[in-house]
Symmetry: C3
Subunit: 358 residues, 3 copies
């Protein structure tokens, strides 16, 4: 499927090339693509968007985050196949892009970013351990958890700056005035592409176009579902009346894009039935995004890609022919009558009683 | 136990009757009763309360929620026995009753409610998958999660109305003035019955009485523990000085009623020891309810039946003779010295080193 | 390792002595020490701090919490070895110390405290059941959950007083003025010891010194990592510019102290590699503490030892050579095409279809 298969097979020679390959695949895995070329194009898209927006710190942070999380993984010696596939880098690159986006640039920010990026690898390993119990992937939960910890933590540190975060307030109902905008073809095309660019926190339609190319070289299906998920998220959020400037900036669609790709062609095989399921998942993702926007308002946090994570987990966990625990008596609970009262064993579980028997 | 056993055995003939039976049992399962007659009486109680309160949208929403969640389940083809027992309907009926209770009636509300009700089935399957690991049921966690997502999400959508939710504020200490009320026998009887009616979000004592009948036709124990849990919750919240108008409306007892039935006679066999355990569980439920009332104040959300879910999980998870992980060295952690340093295997887990060896 | 080994072996004779031993070990297990002498010294340190601060209710609460949680455990008949080691007491002693620290003294507080302490045992058993799935300990999560439930719940009860909790507000950036303090050797020594004393919510350097002695009699390593974790937390929070008065009071270090002991010498064997891992864990603990201080500001809650719990779980969960779920098609999901469409079995999972076949 596309140019990417050759790159998936690609095995570089030499220490530096191998390390670079790990990192490029790490960037690619943000969209579930084990493909170095995809990763290179993702970094190129970030670079373009960061330079245009005069925020080179976002590119620098992304690169540092990618390197630090990968190096941390090598030091912790996890399973080699996952390391080779870039699974230990995709959270770090996002942490590195997010912190300089939301926090002011101070010298201590870079120390903070290194600790956060290293932590993202530990959190990935912890999350993956828990998730494996139910056969689901960690997704970008590690990025979101680390992002929230380090953004919220910054309020307590004099040598960091949270001035770019929204001031805390109570949730309030969006009204017509706030949601109004003139919907033009230009609006729709920009929103379509920015939804994809914002996965890496870039508010730039050209970057979004570069990301589509990056996906297609690895998987045509990934490109199709990314664009389809983006379009559906725009339609749903316009229909419900979400704030149009946020729809335009891609904020109402980047989690939906990831959900569409994840459910539509990565974790399920593409099919009409799976497509219906993915459409449903995208609608729930938009609802969870809106919910987190409201719920996080008092603590000044952005929702990140958490809506994608929660929606995709909810849609991957149900198994066919699953048999839930029924509404009936459960055996072995602590409130049941003591087994000792019915047993003839002389061994007491109550040390006070045991002492008396001696 | 009661008239209900015959209904539990009841197997309808024909497609429409089977589908209706699934839905009635779905309503009955809100109180853990696989009983069509109980479900019919629950719907009758909702209808009575909704008509008296001039809120027919609550009845309409409940019916839509029930139908949509059941149809979604049929489409997802889960295990047939659970489907027959109504386990795929009890969260949907609550979602359908809750959204029109807390959100204003707009055309988009009904589309929103359909998505939410369908989502409740997916969330039930996801929750049940996770909960099964520890042998505990999903309870109404899916309803509560979906309810919170879609209520909070509504703030961001111009075509929905959150005006019936409390405006956000910081938690504040209840004082004597707010908690004062004249406690009369009428107060106590109404609170006793409204605690049961509020499980379906109905503020009506007659509905509560209908619900007691609905329980007794299925299980006398369920009726006894519902009334007992209700009485205990009233006593505890009056003793602590909770706001009396809220006690009167049944808000301090509906989660406690569910906990009492769940712990007292559904998941444990009724016994004196189990009754003591259930009493303890009801007290903790009242504390968790108060906690959630405070904690959710800044984000305008009601606690729903989440206090019942959390308390019942906490009281079902402990097993007899359980052996916890001890405070001692754990094997296999990522921080341990590398097994490679001690091993003679030539296979490296570090691809950089491996490359060098070539 | 120290005087403590003899006390670990100590098996008292007689009912009262056994019960006392269970409780002393319960106090010792707050720092993972199965050692009665350590527990006695911890209680002595609490007594000293409470008397000096004229808050005898903290000592009284700690003793009641310890007794009630241990008695509840005996009634629930869990595994005897864990009961003997004091694992059913360490959360109760903390609940008992915390509630009178943060809530005003009213008659109902003591009833509330008894319910909370008993609940801490049930919550410990529930948490340990869940945590055992991944081979990690429950830590003080039960204390923190119960503490948050009962502190937040108190806002809704007229007969309790939340006046000692901070009034709710939105998070705000710490500035130079708030963080400024004159750093002297006295400041550093007091912070070093108060970080250890605050594990039991005592703001007193002498108590901290008593606690160090209590640790060393059980394990020299525990004393070393407690002091090292404390020093590192002071350095990191001063470098980042956390509020200096809070650093001085030990608020920025008590979770870090627990993380350092847990990762450095309890759950991993002490080694240079483990020490590096523990240092990393302490830095993440300080970040999580700052995050929780910010995030809990709107609901007036203190972070308790939750930063230690979350950080230590994150650093214990990763296993060597762990193989995460990959980014590829997962089998068995509910969205997959129906197995019935491909199967020849006559058994339908859709009861509507089955009825039609009859």
């Amino acid at each position: 499927m596309g140019l990417g298969t050759r790159w998936t097979q690609f095995r570089p020679r030499g220490r530096v090339a191998t390390f670079a390959d790990l990192n490029f695949k790490g960037a690619g895995q943000v969209f579930f693509q084990e493909n170095s070329l995809t990763g290179v194009l993702f970094l190129a898209g970030i670079a373009y968007g960061a330079v245009v927006a005069k925020t080179p710190q976002v590119l620098l942070g992304a690169v540092i985050g990618l390197l630090v999380s990968t190096i941390t993984a090598i030091a912790l010696q996890p399973d080699e196949p996952s390391l080779r596939k870039g699974l230990y880098g995709y959270n770090g690159v996002l942490v590195g892009a997010a912190l300089p986006t939301f926090l002011g640039i101070t010298p201590m920010l870079w120390f903070y970013l290194v600790v956060a990026s290293a932590a993202s690898t530990v959190v990935f390993m912890a999350t993956a351990t828990v998730c494996k119990t139910w056969g689901v992937p960690a997704l970008t939960f590690p990025f979101n958890l680390v992002n929230w910890i380090f953004l919220m933590g910054a309020f307590q540190f004099m040598r960091l700056r949270t001035t770019d975060l929204n001031p805390g307030q109570f949730p309030s109902q969006v009204t017509g005035a706030a949601a109004h905008v003139n919907i033009t073809p230009g609006f729709l095309v920009e929103a379509l592409l920015k939804n994809i660019a914002q996965v890496f926190l870039i508010n730039n339609a050209i970057t979004g176009a570069i990301f589509v190319v990056a996906l297609v070289v690895s998987s045509v299906w990934a490109g199709v579902f990314a664009l389809g998920g983006s379009a559906l998220a725009i339609g749903a959020s316009l229909a419900m009346g979400a704030p149009a400037p946020d729809i335009h900036s891609g904020l109402y669609g980047f989690s939906a894009v990831l959900t569409a790709v994840a459910l539509g062609c990565v974790f399920y095989r593409p099919s009409p039935r799976v497509t219906v399921f993915a459409i449903f998942g995208v609608l729930v993702t938009v609802a969870i995004h809106s919910m987190l926007v409201s719920a996080l308002t008092p603590v000044s946090l952005p929702p990140g890609t958490a809506p994608f994570v929660f929606a995709t987990w909810l849609f991957l966990l149900p198994k066919k022919r699953f048999d839930p625990v029924q509404h009936e008596h459960l055996a072995g609970g602590a409130a049941e009558p003591s087994p000792l009262a019915r047993a003839t064993t002389s061994k007491s579980v109550n040390p006070l009683h045991e002492k008396e028997n001696q």
